[in-house]
């Protein structure tokens, strides 16, 4: 038996039930919601796991794979290497390594379940190794993703080199060449190695079942062909840009890349995050830009970075200059964002007002940042969040999403992660604020 007040409430329910539902509009809304979801899901969701370790590797992925359709004839034609040349064509160093016959041909295949993987060739020097491989399907296998790639010695023991590899859907129609890059961090690779690849059956990169087989590609590299192929230049020159001191310590030139070790003065008032246009220029004005694919920098600590540039090892220029004009940097008193998740309040943020708001999306904190450029995620990057007791929150993952019109949305796990109550701190490790000037340092 209902009470009187309950009866009244039930009448309100009847009133609401009586409202006619605008079927057509609702169906359109559902369709629009799904299409928006598909669009974002495919295009602009970048999942980043922040590394907790001290030496942080900075990655960028502009071209982990290239399709043969976009192949242009302006690149040097090398029989049998066309697709690889095309894959690396945005990297002058790797292109020139191939042109100078520095790539080692492998040609090893493994086939299971109608899927054949071929390790075509490698480019290797004392600094790193780039593996080029192709995948073919004899049957009509669809929705295959690369689940994991591991480099081991010939006994199957993992070599533990830092790597940047493509993990994601495979398009058999396009006969793509894929690239996997391993950085040796001062060690040397053994002569005999194995590339191990695991695949999964999935859809849109969403893995459903991992295939049981493992594709194993054993190969050997000729160490003599690359040992000693390097050149070091001690620079130790300091330049000042907008009052910030930047010291170029050392440049190391390898066939695959050029490493530039820089040191930002501890007394600088601004924290420098990245170079925007670090480049090498020779006597003819030819330029070698930063590497834009794979490991682009490693940070030994906040103030000492090694930045990687495309190599001109084979070019042997007579004169060589290191130049830069723009760096991303922010006042050291501004690099920490503080948020009170209880009140959804921003307690501290960069003074430019770019952080528009903080809200909740399911179990995540959603930070919305204004974005300048129409492309890319706007050069904002954040270290793992820390709670008031100093404990890191979550598993170090963060998602970034945006589209052409929308601001950048950064999602950070928070609710249900057991963080101590109270304000949390997020440290920026990249931000779209710049300092500009002129730096030209002669290396040769």
């Amino acid at each position: 038996m209902l009470n009187a007040e309950e009866k009244k409430l039930t009448k309100a329910q009847a009133a609401l039930e009586n409202i006619e539902v605008p079927e057509f509009q609702l169906d359109a809304a559902i369709a629009a919601g799904i299409s928006k979801g598909k669009k974002k899901q495919k295009k602009n969701l970048l999942f980043i796991r922040t590394l907790a370790s001290a030496a942080i590797l900075i990655f960028a992925f502009t071209a982990m794979l290239r399709t043969s359709e976009t192949f242009a004839s302006y690149v040097t034609s090398i029989p049998g290497m066309e697709k690889i040349v095309e894959l690396v064509r945005f990297d002058k160093g790797l292109t020139s390594a191939i042109e100078n016959d520095f790539a080692q041909k492998i040609g090893v295949s493994d086939e299971h379940d109608g899927i054949k993987i071929t390790l075509d060739s490698v480019i290797v020097d004392e600094q790193m190794m780039v593996l080029f491989y192709q995948m073919e399907s004899s049957g009509n296998r669809k929705d295959i993703s690369i689940k994991d790639i591991q480099l081991t010695d010939d006994q199957g023991k993992s070599l533990g080199f830092s790597s940047s590899v493509w993990l994601g859907p495979v398009d058999f129609q396009q006969k793509n060449v894929y690239q996997a890059t391993y950085t040796f961090d001062g060690r040397l690779p053994p002569e005999n190695m194995k590339m191990n690849i695991w695949l999964a059956e999935g859809r849109d990169g969403e893995v459903i079942t991992k295939l049981e087989d493992k594709w194993v590609l054993p190969f050997s590299v000729d160490r003599d062909s690359f040992m000693g192929k390097k050149e070091f230049i001690d620079v130790n020159e300091t330049v000042t840009i907008e009052g910030q001191k930047i010291t170029i310590e050392k440049v190391s030139i390898y066939p695959t890349q050029i490493g530039v070790i820089v040191h930002f003065d501890e007394d600088n008032t601004k924290q420098i995050f990245r170079f925007e246009d670090l480049r090498l220029v020779d006597e003819t004005g030819e330029e070698w830009a930063a590497i834009s694919n794979g490991t682009i920098a490693s940070h030994f600590n906040e103030n000492r970075h090694e930045v990687y540039l495309q190599s001109n090892y084979f070019k042997k220029p007579k004169e060589l200059y290191l130049r830069f004009n723009s760096l991303r940097a922010l006042g050291k008193d501004e690099v920490e964002i503080m948020i009170d998740p209880g009140k959804m309040e921003v307690l501290k943020a960069p003074s430019d007002g770019r952080l528009l708001k903080v809200s909740r999306e399911e179990n995540q904190l959603l930070l919305t940042f204004q974005r300048d450029s129409k492309d890319g995620h706007g050069n904002i990057s954040i270290d793992q969040a820390v709670d008031p007791s100093g404990k890191e929150i979550g598993d170090g993952s963060a998602s970034f999403r945006w589209n052409d019109e929308s601001p950048l949305e950064v999602l950070i796990p928070y609710f249900g992660e057991g963080a101590a109550p109270g304000p949390i701190t997020l440290k920026l490790n990249d931000y779209p604020a710049t300092i500009k000037g002129e730096a030209k340092i002669r290396l040769k």
Binding site: N3, A4, E5, E6, K8, L9, T10, K11, A12, Q13, A14, A15, L16, E17, N18, I19, E20, V21, P22, Q25, L26, D27, A29, I30, A32, G33, I34, K36, G37, K38, K40, Q41, R203, D204, E206, I208, S359, R360, E361, E362
Partner: protein, 173 residues
């Protein structure tokens, strides 16, 4: 097809199953959104946004039997955010105009007394009596123990009774 089966399929990326799920829930979601946002246009937009959010995160639903309450939670979070953004009292003109004339006065009467409750209590009362959710479901939607829901319900009903008595509105008292 069973709801749980649809959820399983949708989780695996079956778009048709996902569409079907949203079809099954659209009427109820729309009415809940109406009761929060007070006008049809905003309620339709809410359904679009909720479809989008659900599509993106459906993989995270661990127990298919909680899909309905999980979906409702996404909607309510959205509506509460929207209300915070608008920061003003919404007028119910549009909502009222959608109802048959015989229902309008009873809705307004309830809306008046409910609006005096604190927001948490009002939410629980509305979910229970206006939107017809079970106590267990409300606990899932609000992510709190059932006992807490019961406490709020009792508190809310008691306050409503007091208000109605004051107005002399309890017909058979």
């Amino acid at each position: 097809m069973e709801l749980q089966e649809l959820v399983q399929k949708a989780k695996k990326g079956d778009e048709a199953a996902f569409y079907e799920l949203m079809q099954l829930h659209k009427g109820r979601l729309y009415r809940i959104a109406l009761s929060y946002l007070k006008n049809s246009e905003d309620a339709v937009e809410a359904l679009q946004e909720v479809t989008y959010r659900t599509f993106r995160s459906i993989r995270k639903v661990k127990e298919p039997q909680y899909f309905t309450t999980w979906l409702t939670r996404i909607l309510i979070n959205y509506c509460n955010d929207e209300l915070k953004k608008k920061k003003r009292t919404l007028v119910s003109d549009n909502l009222i105009s959608l109802m048959g004339s015989e229902h309008q006065s009873s809705w307004l009467e309830v809306e008046e007394v409910i609006s005096k409750l604190d927001s948490k209590t009002r939410q629980v009362i509305e979910l229970k009596y206006v939107h017809d959710f079970k106590i267990k479901e409300i606990a899932e939607i609000l992510e709190c123990p059932e006992g807490t829901v019961k406490t709020w319900l009792n508190k809310g009903l008691k306050e409503l009774r007091g208000q109605l008595e004051e107005k002399g509105g309890l017909g058979y008292a």
